[in-house]
Symmetry: C2
Subunit: 433 residues, 2 copies
């Protein structure tokens, strides 16, 4: 694997070279942007007819109506029922652990009296209807269904509408089973920017939702960006990343396999290991070479490591934490003997895996926390997907007749300072009650 020295001159630019080039669609003006804008306009003006045409064109799937593209509750339940017992048990156990974890995120109403007789607070209620996008084809993952739909269910969302393209009409039974387990209410076999447009604006066949979550290709991501504001969206997801800070406590093969588990996603995934010990880096590098040929997805892993991977020598562990903080990785493994001692040095990361037994794969499937995490450094400001994404807050302001007066006096002065005299008079009316 590529070796870098974190203390060397030129390290910053070597690291920058491993970043994914900015998507040209990211800031408007590109082909993706205008293609997606065209699809959205088309779905807005022609509704279901446009959806059916795009589904025919992109998924080679003929349907005369949206109803033909809807998967019935019975089919979902049958898919779950028909799974091999081992798979059904694993999926159910994962679903239950995800649910238990996410229950801790439920927001609650609160209020207090301000001492003047006014009650102030915040009310927390679930979103009414939510859309979950699940990619089709190779990237169609049942775990992703659980991670996106269960927090919505825990939040108390009334209706979860899932969309998933089914190229050539092929439905993935594991995905259907996961939808049944996660409590998805309706599932339509449509995808792409057209599915996002339908969820955002509503068509005859597909109901309008309040928020759209779930991963997708760059057309889906761009569509989500374009409808943002009309509906809520989760975040703009980039390629997946792992950053391991290692002190040599773990078997080098574990580190190699953890890097592979990220790299196997796709060729733009990033796998980095930071370590102060050159001998250990050598050992991990040797393990990578030894294990790589055994991997089923070795071509993807090799390409990903060649393009974006690196083993980085640091001065010490805190230097590793410093570099990690600059990158704000999606997944951060603290593969060290004393992860609790290292944690206070960490400023930003989507999920932090503490100690050598906490590998990313456990978090991806079943530890309980969400696997939808901020990528590309956005852990500086985004959080993991959670129940809080499916609840909304409203402020509550309840003034008494005595309590309103002192507030009105303040508001009047400030409103006059802003030349908003109707504000001032509206407030003043509550003084001379």
């Amino acid at each position: 694997m590529r070796r870098l020295d974190g203390s060397a001159v030129g390290f910053e630019s070597a690291l920058a070279d491993l970043e994914v080039p900015t998507e040209s669609g990211e800031r408007g003006g590109s082909d993706v942007t205008s293609t997606v804008a065209g699809i959205i306009s088309d779905v807005l003006s022609r509704g279901d007819a446009a959806l059916l045409e795009y589904t025919q064109r992109f998924d080679q799937l003929d349907a005369a109506s949206l109803a033909e593209l809807e998967v019935s509750r019975d089919e979902l339940e049958s898919a779950l029922h028909d799974l091999p017992e081992t798979q059904r048990a694993a999926l159910s156990e994962a679903a239950s652990r995800i649910e238990v974890f996410h229950r801790n995120q439920l927001g609650e109403d609160w209020s207090f009296d301000d001492g003047l007789g006014n009650r102030l607070g915040q009310r927390v209620t679930p979103l009414e209807r939510v859309g979950v996008y699940v990619p089709g084809g190779k990237a169609s993952y049942p775990s992703s269904v659980l991670m996106n739909a269960i927090p919505a269910r825990v939040a108390g969302v009334s209706e979860i509408v899932m969309v998933a393209p089914t190229p050539d009409g092929e439905r993935n039974p594991l995905v259907l089973a996961a939808a049944a387990l996660a409590g998805v209410d309706r599932l339509f076999c449509v995808g792409g920017a057209q599915a996002v447009a339908a969820l955002a604006y509503g068509t005859t066949g597909i109901p309008r939702v309040d928020k759209i979550v779930g991963p997708g290709n760059r057309f889906v991501a761009e569509a989500k960006r374009q409808v943002f504001g009309k509906v809520g969206i989760d975040m703009i997801a980039g390629p997946s990343e792992i950053l391991i800070i290692a002190d040599g406590s773990a078997d080098p093969e574990w580190m190699a396999m953890d890097l592979f588990s990220q790299a196997e996603h796709d060729e733009s995934a990033q796998a980095l290991m930071l370590c102060p010990d050159s001998d250990y880096i050598d050992a991990v590098d040797a393990a990578v070479d030894r294990l790589l040929p055994q991997m089923e997805r070795s071509a993807i892993i090799e390409a990903s490591l060649a393009r974006r991977g690196a083993l980085i020598k640091t001065r010490d562990i805190s230097h590793a934490a410093e570099i990690s903080n600059r990158l704000a990785p999606e997944h951060l493994e603290l593969a060290v003997a004393d992860p609790e001692a290292l944690l206070p040095l960490i400023e930003a990361a989507g999920a932090i895996f503490m100690g050598i037994h906490s590998c990313e794969a456990l978090g991806d499937y079943c530890a309980g926390p969400n696997h939808v995490l901020p990528t590309s450094g956005s852990a500086r400001f985004f959080s993991p997907l959670g129940v809080y994404d499916f609840q909304k807050r409203s402020s509550i302001i309840h003034c008494s007749s005595e309590g309103a007066a002192p507030l009105a006096r303040i508001a009047k002065v400030l409103a006059e300072g802003e030349s908003l005299t109707a504000h001032a008079r509206s407030a003043a009316m509550r003084i001379a009650d």
Copy 2:
């Protein structure tokens, strides 16, 4: 004012006619989109030089360097010191009430043991650096500085960078004073899409931030949309709105003035009152006619009411709640004798003002809750700006050697089901410890 009957045929479309037409910039392809994309590219490639040029062009303000456009901490403190005592006291009292309210929103770390010896939880930390956009000219409001910066300060953000255009170099002393009170760390007299670009990407003179909040014109809104993902943003703000549900408990003049307080913002602001009592609607309508000529901003109020305002007769109070829920208004006044009884019928609103003494103006300035609220129906999925917008969460997964094994068995089955065999092996390595 316009009168509508909520039970009449054609009510829906009459109501829809009062909506603001979709901004053409909203979904790409328009002039605003490409102008903004050009400005952002320019700031990205030429940095401070581009910023200075745009500031010269748009604000008629010559400066040789960004340093000349920075307002010193001394100037901020002097502005606060020099305010008339009444204004300084009102601003301080408002700041203190806003702070007290927002402290209730502080998120906290939590974790639990899953019964297998694994510790799972969530860590909550402040964003490092945040940008606050404050519009210039007529819409330059000190209250907006308090509402945007104080939650960031409460969250524990290390550095708050404020930007505000100063057309012709005119600095608003109330805005500077509010910045001092709110604990703004640095203030630059730049605005527009160029200021947003500088905050998102960083230039020599302006540091890169993690999130940009604050209102602005459509160029600013579009710029925020375009940089979303590189940095966090608050929300896409549309024109301000009030919806009053009235049962006749309040003096009709109070209702008229509350409608005016929204309408005076600008001509696209919306003021609606819903009421089951025709006589009371008549009385409010008469009060509107009587009071309007007395208002300083009567021309704006009149235009706003003519374009988007309405008094709507409903069958009963719950019918009014139903219509309100469809609109999900930014500000909702429950001007009724028993607001607690009505509240359970309300599904979505940015801020809910309970009872006739709780007018919007009190919330705009000093009740304590934030006045940055979701507009244009986005209260269906957005929340008021809050401390939670300036904190980020990280998942914590700490597996013990015994606790990892049962998780690894589940993960292995699911990973194999998704053909992600490196995931499966990475997990399996934690079984045979």
